[in-house]
Symmetry: C2
Subunit: 435 residues, 2 copies
């Protein structure tokens, strides 16, 4: 055993990617994924846990795990997602606490590009299961972030049972989302006691992280539902180009960004008015939004653009020239509003919704639906200070959205994400359980 154990954490700052790098050196040029994807300029595992995220960070770099807020919220959105919701299968509070501590340690290691456990995938006893599953051997940190949230059912079950003595500590805003007109929510892929959002620039690294946290949770949690996202549909930093969603349009042009400090304090981070243990955290809302690809693809360019409220090519608001031109809701063209009052941009824009959320969604294709169509769409993720004045308020304003003709919400969940893990002695939810 060449690395520190969980009981004897390594001194900070540690070099990122130690275990994987060692293997990389020992066994050659590593494996597929990001390397083959051409990260020519990437320096493997360069960042230490104390570094601030660099503006010019390579997609192979590590993102610091410790901080005031959890990474994976305002971190510049990585390209790939694995999201999982889990149910706690034990009634033992101590088992749950131990799991959160073990998860924190494993995430601290994996986000630095290391194996999930101190022994790793290949260095332990031949006669014990490895404490890492091995598929990320040789891969760099790849911008991995792991973000954890607590669902309403962790605090109180539907029948009112206080499972873990947390009922009195449930933040008032953490309640199940209301229904909305047109919802086609499948309960089997909704809700959950806990969630893990793993984002990375290499999908193998994101999947590896979630899979190892599930492995560590055996006997304490079980997977409720799981969602892969293959491509980001939002930017969360002004340094990122705006991606396109499966409607073919640029998405999230007016998203909240990491650089909007005061707006983040107002709309994203939980402040003084909520549960103490959640200060510096955020509420996470997920909605799996199936896109009805076939009718969309047979609609005219005009219909598509008037549905969205932007031009398809540049992403400019209708009536404007460039993507980041301000939306002008008063401008008329040929006697009608340039940006139709039923367009998605009109109704979702902060000017008209009266609020703002930080979107961090991903495109998905989950096979086909048995009716000759791709099961594809947007796995919507939003972070906000309060679900009621965030997603719920925006979504209520979308009841006349022309886009509703082309989408179906099939899954829904809400979680309270605790603040960041501060240092090696800290763990996810410590203030909730120890406070």
């Amino acid at each position: 055993m060449t690395e520190p154990t969980a009981e004897q954490p390594a001194p900070q700052p540690r070099a990122a990617g130690l275990s994987r790098r060692r293997l990389l050196g020992a066994f050659g040029a590593g494996t597929a994924g990001v390397l083959a994807a051409g990260a020519a300029g990437g320096v493997i595992g360069r960042a230490t846990a104390d570094d601030a995220p660099a503006a010019g960070a390579a997609p192979t770099d590590a993102v610091p795990f410790h901080g005031e807020h959890q990474a994976g919220i305002v971190t510049p959105a990585q390209d790939r997602l694995h999201f999982v919701a889990l149910d706690v299968t034990t009634d033992d509070r101590e088992d749950l606490v131990q799991l959160l501590q073990d998860w924190t340690e494993a995430a601290r290691r994996m986000t630095a590009g290391r194996d999930a456990g101190p022994v790793g995938a290949v260095d332990g006893s031949q006669y014990a299961p490895p404490d890492d599953t091995g598929e990320a051997i040789g891969l760099p940190a790849s911008g991995l972030t792991v973000t954890v949230g607590f669902g309403p059912t962790l605090f109180t079950t539907a029948d009112g049972t206080d499972r873990f003595g947390l009922a009195a500590r449930r933040p008032a805003p953490l309640v199940e989302l209301p229904g909305f007109p047109g919802d086609q929510i499948d309960p089997a892929i909704s809700g959950g006691d806990l969630c893990i959002q793993a984002c990375a620039n290499d999908p193998q690294v994101a999947v590896h992280a979630v899979r190892n946290l599930i492995r560590i949770g055996a006997g304490v949690v079980s997977v409720r539902w799981s969602q892969l996202g293959f491509g980001r549909t939002s930017s969360t930093s002004t340094g990122q180009a705006t991606p396109r969603n499966l409607f073919g349009f640029k998405d999230g042009t007016d998203n909240l960004k990491a650089e909007n400090g005061s707006a983040l304090d107002r709309f994203v981070w939980v402040g003084d008015g909520d549960a103490d243990w959640l200060r510096g955290g955020s509420y996470l809302v997920t909605r799996r939004i199936r896109m009805l690809i076939e009718p969309w693809d047979s609609s005219s360019l005009d219909e598509q653009q008037r549905t969205i409220g932007r031009t398809k090519g540049s992403g400019a608001p209708l009536g404007q020239q460039a993507e980041f031109d301000p939306v002008d809701f008063t401008e008329q063209v040929d006697g009608r509003f340039a940006v139709p009052e039923t367009s998605h941009v009109f109704l979702a824009h902060p000017t008209n919704s009266g609020t703002a959320i930080l979107r961090r969604g991903y495109s998905f294709v989950d096979g086909s639906d048995g009716l000759g169509r791709l099961d594809a769409g947007l796995f919507f993720i939003a972070f906000q200070q309060d679900p009621e004045t965030g997603f719920v308020q925006v979504q209520r304003n979308l009841r006349l959205d022309a886009m509703n003709e082309y989408i179906r919400h099939t899954s829904s969940a809400v979680f309270a994400c605790p603040p960041g893990v501060r240092d090696d002695g800290d763990w996810w939810g410590r203030a909730l359980f120890d406070g």
Copy 2:
């Protein structure tokens, strides 16, 4: 309309990526995907259709579409996959021929980094549907290959109907695969009249290609099943590092490679002994192999290594030192064979299976299974000269494979992939329909 129409094809060689590049120039730095994934050295759309694939090709480059064989077989395996099987919903042979011609033209364009149609995503009439869906605007060719195959049911339906006058032209080896012990095949995600394998280094580019071919096929074909693969699990070129599958092991070390010319002629390409129209083609077998992640992750390193027959770290055959050391089936350690006779490597190796196949599979995670487990595994793809002496022979030899305890085959399909499209006047299946 600024580009040639389908009726007036552009002269060859054409510059790749024209339409997307134009948009890129017009609207700025492009979108997410490969660009954000750090393809720092990539030159967008550099290759022309006449270039040979360069050894040092960047992951953003175009792969030539025209050639003796279809691209996507011995092309160095790209990182991401979208595979779709389709059923033909018309009885009209001319509609089917027109579709294959339209698909060929669209694939010729998209593999060069262009829009699927001559008008593109944004340049057509406002009052007509765009002939490209737009989500790949600004993205480079990304190594996209599109490979098409014909299933047994395209020639003769189960009740013997000769749907398109092709029954007499069915190649003798193109029959449904036999059942194997332990199979748990779901017919709903198996088989298909046609298949499209889209591989690229950016998943958005692969999804875009499949989605546009589906769009073009409206009224002629419908999606039977669809599979995304997030990470390649095979190398098909000696220049590629061996990737790891979700068992955490290097996979495909002894795979056939593009550089093994004579072995390809012997094991992969259809030669003189089969249907004339298929010469230069290959048979494609797909198997969706669910991996039972949880029992695997709780098994010891020794059990894992003896199941595979290789060490987990280096990928060396048991008893050897390095990944590419020859497997020695006679070596004994402590009185037992170093490579167990029930190990996957022992039974699948050409020495013992008596044959070789070119594997080109991808890892998948398709949500969860409702029983608290990830639905994850390997989407196995193999190309061979004859399914009976290729996959079937290997698979029969695996009946005692220790790995069977940890896997379940849940989907199966076989297709005959025609030879490559030779030039602008050629199209997929021309020799089959015109011959």
